[in-house]
């Protein structure tokens, strides 16, 4: 059952990546072109998934939307990982009082979920994709600090680290040669789950009008716009909704699959 989760997840994620790459090269119609096409058209030919309220081809926008979904995810998770992982290792290495102080800060940070931060930042720098990603990234740092510190603590307690210290291997080398490779899978799991959270957060932000500007096709924005026509043209909300759900499901399944796959303790439980 575990393998199935991982495979379905990988297929979905691969799908999203494929859509994104394809969008660089080709889209059936101009994704931002307000054309002469009929508005709010149902799926058919040539508009495979129909058109939106501006007469723009939905399928093209979904393609380009995949690109911005990955863009949001990569930058947000990137920020969180690049800041969170080193801090996590530091927290594991610090003596008791040092780690205590840092973990208190992490607790406070947890009280600032991504959306709250995004609302504040949108007020400061104006609503844009960048503020959304910055907010989501910063809000995800505590999760990476926690995961990394837990993993690093168990590695630092191992005999092979003691052996390394016994032969005088310097601390930074221990961190790179021993700690990082052995917590990589934990960080990988956290990254894929945070990726899913980032996509969801961007959708929520766009709904609140704090996410991406109108000209940049994003699934969250499409869902927000479609929501106005939910009663008159419910079909509009189906495609962006499915795209978001699919991508988020994909990344979560990969995260779960990786965790179960790599966590021996979970396997032989009676």
């Amino acid at each position: 059952m575990k393998r199935a989760e991982l495979w379905i997840g990988l297929v979905l994620v691969a799908g999203v990546v494929a859509l994104a790459l394809l969008s660089f090269v080709w889209t059936p119609f101009n994704p931002t072109g307000v054309g002469s096409a009929p508005r709010l058209a149902p799926p058919g030919w040539p508009h495979v998934l129909g058109t939106d309220h501006m007469g723009i081809d939905t399928f093209s926008r979904i393609l380009v939307g995949a690109r911005s979904a990955l863009y949001v995810g990569i930058i947000a998770v990137g920020i969180a990982a690049l800041v969170g992982v080193p801090l996590g290792i530091l927290a594991a290495w610090l003596p008791r009082w040092g780690a205590e102080g840092m973990m208190r800060a992490v607790d406070v940070a947890y009280a600032f979920p991504a959306l709250l931060l995004a609302i504040l930042l949108a007020g400061v720098f104006g609503a844009s994709t960048e503020t959304a990603m910055l907010a989501i990234g910063i809000a995800t740092i505590p999760a990476f600090i926690r995961v990394t510190r837990a993993g690093a603590l168990s590695v630092l307690a191992s005999d092979y680290v003691l052996a390394a210290r016994a032969s005088g291997t310097p601390v930074p080398v221990i961190a790179v040669r021993h700690v990082l490779p052995n917590i990589a899978h934990l960080v990988g799991v956290q990254a894929s789950v945070s990726f899913a959270m980032a996509i969801l957060a961007e959708a929520a932000l766009s709904y609140l009008g704090l996410g991406t500007p109108p000209t940049v096709p994003s699934w969250g924005r499409m869902l927000g716009d479609a929501q106005t026509y939910l009663f008159s043209h419910p079909g509009q909300a189906v495609w962006p909704g499915l795209a978001i759900a699919g991508a988020v499901l994909g990344f979560n399944l990969v995260g779960d699959g990786l965790r179960d796959f790599l966590d021996p303790k979970l396997q032989e439980v009676s």
């Binding site: 191992s158 005999d159 092979y160 003691l162 052996a163 390394a164 210290r165 016994a166 032969s167 005088g168 291997t169 310097p170 040669r177 021993h178 490779p181 052995n182």
Partner: protein
């Protein structure tokens, strides 16, 4: 000639919050070059703390450790090169003593790559040295390119020994090195250890809770209880005529073979 290790009044106290635990209390001992000394005690007796302090991996609360006449405790890591090159460890749990994500060749070569050790040993062909020590512990040369999880518990312990031998140390500290192994495998590893110590003239500190094994491996031994040395002397005498009541109880507790009806 001067003793290899000189330990005077070594004390180590661990404090968490308001409560503190005395792990080691006023321990003094000397270790001569080439000596095979058993350090016996039950869990919580302080034996592991003692050897870690002697190897400069932990700071004592009070007391001093000297190695080859040079001070170890309280000396900054940068200046411990002499100790790092000549004192090596073999630990208890084969599953945790090797980095699962490093090839065996790199694991064994790690001490050679440490800057402190390299300054002491000077240039040497690491690849050749790794092959040498792997052969010395009875493992095929191609083991270097494989990963630890491809080996059995006994083989992994051999790799740990190979790592310890790589910088050709003077002292080998075996901290419960065979306690986690099956009986059949334990014999092989002990034989290997004893043979290497003889051939290379190493000084051996053999830490164990199993008095029977210590009796077989080490001519002399010290008995630790609650962080203090309660008795020391030739292991054989400790068995036949223990002076301290705790040692007597320890010897008596070893299950002996007796046929039941």
């Amino acid at each position: 000639m001067t003793a290899l290790f000189e330990v005077h009044g070594l004390t180590r106290v661990y404090t968490t919050g308001r409560r503190s635990v005395v792990a080691l209390e006023d321990v003094s001992l000397t270790v001569e070059p080439g000596q095979r000394l058993g350090i016996v005690g039950e869990s919580g007796s302080g034996k592991s703390t003692l050897v870690r302090l002697m190897a400069g991996l932990d700071r004592p609360t009070s007391g001093t450790v000297h190695f080859g006449g040079r001070p170890v405790s309280g000396v900054p890591e940068r200046q411990l090169g002499f100790l790092r090159a000549s004192v090596q460890f073999v630990f208890q749990d084969p599953r945790s003593s090797l980095n699962p994500r490093m090839r065996v060749g790199d694991v064994v070569a790690e001490p050679l790559r440490s800057p402190l050790v390299r300054r002491e040993l000077g240039a040497l062909d690491q690849r050749r040295r790794v092959a040498e020590v792997l052969d010395a512990v009875g493992l095929p040369a191609d083991a270097a390119s494989r990963y630890p999880h491809e080996f059995s518990g006994g083989q992994r312990q051999r790799i740990a020994i190979a790592r310890a031998l790589a910088p050709s140390p003077q002292v080998l500290i075996a901290d419960e090195a065979v306690s986690a192994l099956d009986v059949s495998v334990r014999a092989h590893v002990l034989n290997l250890l004893m043979a290497l110590v003889d051939d290379l003239g190493l000084t051996l500190l053999f830490v164990s809770h199993d008095l029977a094994v210590v009796r077989h491996v080490c001519p002399d031994a010290v008995v630790l209880q609650g962080g203090r040395i309660v008795e020391r002397g030739p292991t054989q005498r400790l068995f036949t005529a223990p002076e301290h009541p705790y040692t007597a109880r320890l010897v008596a507790a070893i299950p002996t073979f007796r046929a039941r009806s």
